[in-house]
Amino acid sequence: MASISARRLAKELREIQGEGCPVGISLLKADDFATWWFSIEVMGESLYQNEAYTLQFRFDSQYPISSPAVQFVVTDGKQAPIHPHVYSNGHICASILGNEWSPVLSVVAVCVTLQSMLASCKKKERPTDNDRYVRTAPENPKKVRCHLPKSVSSANSFPDTIPL
């Protein structure tokens, strides 16, 4: 029997292919159950009008119990959106990708959340510790605990990003 991860993703994929993605989100690549790419664009008026970004999802075998590793693609000439919770290496500081992940969430739900994160942005800027973070960040964003002050995360007692 396929792993829970593959099976659930198969169902999610079927749903995406059957019912399509929400507006502004489209599936770019899902060749396997390890890495998926989505295109995400903020619809309507926002700082990111007419800008499309590429989101990468990576799943481990314990998905959906364990969260997917989600980041913006910054290779192949692609760039991460300039946002106070998005580092220039594509890592995203969003609580639902970390300690507030719930197995009830799905790939599409994450896309929608990140889409609205961009949509609600007031000022295009990088996180204040971007340079330092990018220099030391592990490849997998899941190995870092989200720490930015205004992230929607609940109280995080640890004062800085520390590799887990």
């Binding site: 029997m1 075998s61 009830v104 204040t128 330092r132 030391t136 720490h147 004062p159």
Partner: protein, 679 residues
């Protein structure tokens, strides 16, 4: 029919509850870290839905065959046993129902009860698989969750960087203390079904209720109220993992141990040589000590430690692996040292005889000279060793034997840990409490320190914050077999005389050499007792940095002439002053560079500071940790934040390609360096 079942059906009944299993069906492949007996118990008690084989899909129009065909293939590796058992049982049922389906009222759809239970199947929103309608529902928001998924949900494992364990939140509504409520079907089958109505007697389901609600399967009525986490109906994630508290405690203890580990330094000329790893007192301990009677205090505080250490050796207690490994490394190196020591002793004897015969002491490299060397370090520890062994050689493992010595040397001391140290102590521990002692204490300790320091003013206000440490772990911690690529300079530095130290003129930081210079009594037989922490115990001393710090580097030469130095003239000591090392950790090439002005600010009013990057080049993980602690100690002390950083660091596995590590250390705690005016 259910009651007159064949033997295979009987087996089935014994292993299943309402046609579901007591064990998971392989939906998840990860470790089954919940308490399976408790889960089974809850299933049998009908407080938790049994593990049903899920359906990949479900369509209400399906007949039994389609339902059974849609049941998930079980993963063979995982559940081969269960599979066959259930398969066999299902077949048995099939045959049984076929042979006896003359029973009135049995409809076509429900001719196979194991299929009938799936009528009205519900999709679990987490695994997206379909289960019989008698599925668990979250206690808080009444959402369906299958048992497979429920047992996967747990508290986040505490880590050394995240020392709290929040109860698992509901995946649907994020309420704390996730728990489920299960409403069993109105019939029973399998375990604990005796005496209650079976599926067949109710089959086709035509209980009054189901007639009213029309669907022939149990449906879930949305309930209005939510259940409290402590309701008797509720099964919480904590209930099926009752060990979460123990796990948390274990991690906390490990961190506490690590945080309390301190490196005991000895000053040799302009350098600090670490001689051991100690344990710092918590402010509570300090406070307790201040109110304690001087005499009994030490033994009370120290006694448990060797026991604890001993327990580590016999594998008791919940030591973390790292510590055990260090202890083992230490033990091995001590054994090694024993042998070396024996040889040395023999040589020494011969040498002494020769010397006696010639009537003159050799000019260099002999015990006496080393003894007189101005290096302040070894004397204290070895004095202790000597006294220790001479007073109570049979008590070698008991730290209590240290007590009379210490209290004797400062009888008027109120604050034992600090004034247990006479002014002439030359070996000290640079150990700082993370928090300064309580003020009430402070006055007392300061005054008593002044007293015992024979009028010499305390080094600085810092001394108030310097809480002495009692060594619970051997210096070999640092000097184990790790990093045996030690260089010659390090060996000579271990000798304890600055004059011979090649790096003497260098600034303080570039190289830190960690050598173990603590030797235990040569006459101790190399048996088990002697190879265990007694050697450690022997370094066990309460010493204050402040007293030694009173003397500038220029005053070292006076130290051997201090009142205690006559102890040094005992032959045992001189023997032990041989330039031996048990092992070394050589740390070189610290490279530091400042980083940013300020890092993030975060919750709890914690202001955070700039960081240093420290690159360490060492060989093993253990030595890395030791070196890092050493380095931090060297820079001026420990702090919670640093410890957190270290803990985080310790979870890094060293890359194979390079032995180069970087770690961020908050600058603030390092700002005050007790050594700044000193080294």
């Amino acid at each position: 029919m259910g009651n007159s079942s064949s033997s295979s059906t009987r087996a089935h009944h014994e292993d299943t509850v309402d046609f579901g299993s007591l064990v998971p069906q392989g939906v998840y492949t990860g470790p089954r870290d919940w308490n399976q007996p408790i889960v089974s118990q809850h299933i049998v008690a009908r407080k938790l839905a049994p593990f049903y084989r899920p359906l990949e899909e479900y369509d209400p129009s399906w007949d039994d065959d389609q339902i059974l065909a849609a049941r998930k293939e079980l993963s063979e590796s995982d559940n081969a046993d269960t599979v066959t058992r259930i398969e066999a049982a299902a077949t048995a049922h099939l045959n049984a129902s076929k042979s006896a389906n003359k029973r009135p009222g049995v409809t076509k759809e429900s001719s196979r009860p194991e299929a009938a239970v799936y009528r009205g199947a519900v999709e679990c929103p987490i695994c997206f698989l379909y289960y019989p309608p008698n599925i668990n529902h979250s206690r808080c928001c009444d959402q369906a969750i299958c048992t497979e998924c429920f047992v996967q949900i747990k508290r986040a494992e505490p880590t050394t960087t995240h020392l709290v364990s929040e109860p698992a939140a509901c995946p649907y509504c994020v309420q704390d203390n996730f728990g489920i409520v299960y409403t069993p079907p109105p019939w029973r089958a399998g375990i604990s079904s005796e005496g209650s109505s079976s599926l067949w007697s109710l089959d086709p389901p035509r209980s009054p209720q189901s007639i009213e609600t029309s669907p022939p399967f149990p449906t879930h009525k949305r309930r209005q109220k939510s259940f409290g986490a402590d309701s008797p109906e509720v099964v919480t994630t904590d209930q099926i993992r009752p060990d979460w508290e123990a796990k948390l405690a274990a991690v906390r203890a490990a961190v506490a141990r690590r945080a309390n580990r301190r490196i005991i330094m000895r000053q040799v000329g302009d350098r600090l040589i670490p001689v051991g790893v100690g344990r710092i007192q918590t402010p509570e301990e300090v406070a307790a000590e201040a109110t304690d009677v001087a005499g009994s205090r030490r033994s009370r505080r120290r006694q448990p430690q060797p026991n604890g250490n001993f327990e580590q050796f016999v594998g008791m207690g919940n030591q973390d692996l790292e510590e055990l490994m260090l202890m083992e490394a230490m033990r091995l190196s001590l054994i090694d040292h024993e042998e070396h020591q024996k040889k040395e002793a023999e040589e020494k004897k011969k040498q002494a005889e020769t010397a006696l015969a010639s009537g003159a002491t050799p000019a260099s490299g002999t015990p006496s000279e080393i003894q007189a060397a101005p290096g302040p370090g070894p004397s204290t520890i070895e004095a202790r060793l000597a006294t220790h062994s001479s007073i109570s050689s049979n008590l070698s493992s008991s730290p209590a034997s240290v007590a009379p010595i210490s209290s004797g040397s400062s009888a008027n001391s109120q604050h034992g840990s600090q004034d247990g140290l006479a002014p002439s102590r030359k070996s000290w521990s640079i150990s700082r409490s993370r928090t300064p002692p309580p003020p009430s204490n402070d006055d007392q300790s300061t005054s008593s320190r002044r007293k015992s320091a024979t009028g010499a003013p305390p080094f600085s206000a810092l001394s108030a914050a310097l809480v002495s440490s009692s060594t619970s772990t051997a210096s070999a911690f640092l000097g184990g077999p790790i990093g045996m690529d030690g260089t010659a300079p390090s060996t000579s530095s271990a000798n304890g005389f600055p004059s011979s130290h090649p790096d003497r003129g260098l600034p303080s930081i570039p190289i830190i050499t960690v050598d173990d210079n603590t030797h235990h009594p040569p006459q101790t037989p190399p048996d088990e007792t002697s190879t265990h922490p007694p050697a450690i115990t022997s370094t066990s001393s309460s010493m204050s940095f402040a007293d030694a710090a009173n003397h500038g580097p220029m005053s070292y030469g006076e130290l051997p002439s201090s009142p205690e130095s006559d102890i040094l003239h005992e032959p045992l000591i001189t023997r032990r002053r041989e330039p031996e090392t048990i092992g070394k950790v050589v740390v070189s090439g610290f490279s530091m560079r400042g980083e940013g002005q300020r890092s993030m600010t975060i919750a709890n009013d914690d202001v955070f500071f700039s960081f240093y990057f420290v690159s360490l080049h060492t060989t093993t993980h253990a030595s890395l940790l030791a070196c890092l602690e050493l380095f931090l100690t060297f820079l001026g002390g420990f702090d919670e934040y640093i410890m957190t950083a270290i803990s985080a660091f310790s979870q890094f596995s060293p890359p194979n390609s390079s032995n180069n590590f970087s770690i961020r250390i908050p600058l603030e705690p390092l700002r005050v360096s007790p050594l700044s005016g000193h080294v």
